[in-house]
């Protein structure tokens, strides 16, 4: 494996973990449910995306032929992430409307 590939794989892994970390920091710091939803749905897509790309580059370089099933991981991730976020958000919205006293104050935040 050449130095260039090594640097590229390391950079991608670092980038991926950095975004995963930032997503977790967002999850911990943000004040309420709806803002917290932004952390994991976003940073994780790019975080996992970069790591998976690193895997594709590494195995393409070290093994014969192209390693492409990482692309499939990415595609499935990008399809499922919005769906889970949407379901979480909808559930939260239903809970809020079930308790009208907290509705206005939490929505307005």
């Amino acid at each position: 494996m050449s130095a260039f590939i090594e640097i590229m794989v390391s950079a991608l892994i670092l980038l991926g973990s950095a975004f995963a970390l930032l997503g977790s920091i967002g999850l911990a710091r943000l004040p309420d449910f709806f803002t917290r939803l932004h952390g994991p749905t976003k940073a994780t897509t790019l975080g996992v995306g970069a790591m998976v790309l690193a895997s594709a580059v590494y195995f393409t370089a070290t093994q014969p032929g192209f390693s492409l099933h990482e692309i499939a991981v990415m595609v499935f991730l990008f399809i499922t992430a919005p769906v889970s976020a949407h379901l979480l958000a909808k559930a939260a919205l239903h809970r809020l409307s079930a308790r009208p006293d907290t509705h206005a104050s939490e929505l307005g935040k």
């Binding site: 930032l22 309420d32 499939a72 399809i79």
Partner: protein, 163 residues
């Protein structure tokens, strides 16, 4: 005849490519099994698949996908910066985007793109009034956000699917 055998050519092609990619090798055996799956699976799932609009501009769909990908990367950066910065300066908001799209499938794609681009999550697609409810992490200017979603994402999608 060919239409009845392959009701959704694009779905068949996607399944075939996905099968080969998942197996991570190009051999006669995987290709033959992939071919068989690409033929049978669309036939099996046909009753569940809604009759959506057809993809009329594949080239535009490709460049649009690239644009969305770059948007995801760029906006990820700005959201990350806001998350580590002072939280109190954020102005999270619920924003309602009136849609021109009248197709459930296309509206779902739009909602997914809004969710994938950082800073916004789509909460609800109201199919009675065709309003997309979005929660934004930091939206001091509601009008600007509505304008961005409508012109940057909805308009090209409507052109791609011709609806």
């Amino acid at each position: 005849m060919i239409r009845r055998l392959i009701p959704r050519p694009l779905l068949s092609i996607t399944l075939f490519i996905l099968w080969v990619v998942l197996n991570n090798e190009v051999s006669i055996a995987t290709m033959m099994l992939g071919f068989l799956l690409a033929l049978t699976m669309p036939l099996v799932v046909r009753p569940f698949w809604p009759d959506g609009p057809r993809l009329v501009r594949p080239g535009m769909a490709f460049s649009f996908a690239l644009r969305v990908l770059t948007d995801i990367v760029v906006a990820n950066w700005s959201v990350s910066r806001r998350v580590v910065g002072p939280i109190r300066n954020l102005s999270p908001a619920f924003v309602e985007v009136p849609l021109d799209v009248r197709d459930p499938f296309v509206a779902t794609i739009l909602a997914s793109i809004v969710s994938l681009t950082p800073g916004t999550v789509s909460i609800d697609v109201d199919q009675n009034h065709w309003v997309l409810k979005v929660h934004a992490l930091d939206a001091p200017d509601h009008e600007a956000l509505v304008h961005q979603i409508k012109w940057r994402y909805e308009k090209p999608i409507r052109e791609i699917f011709a609806c």
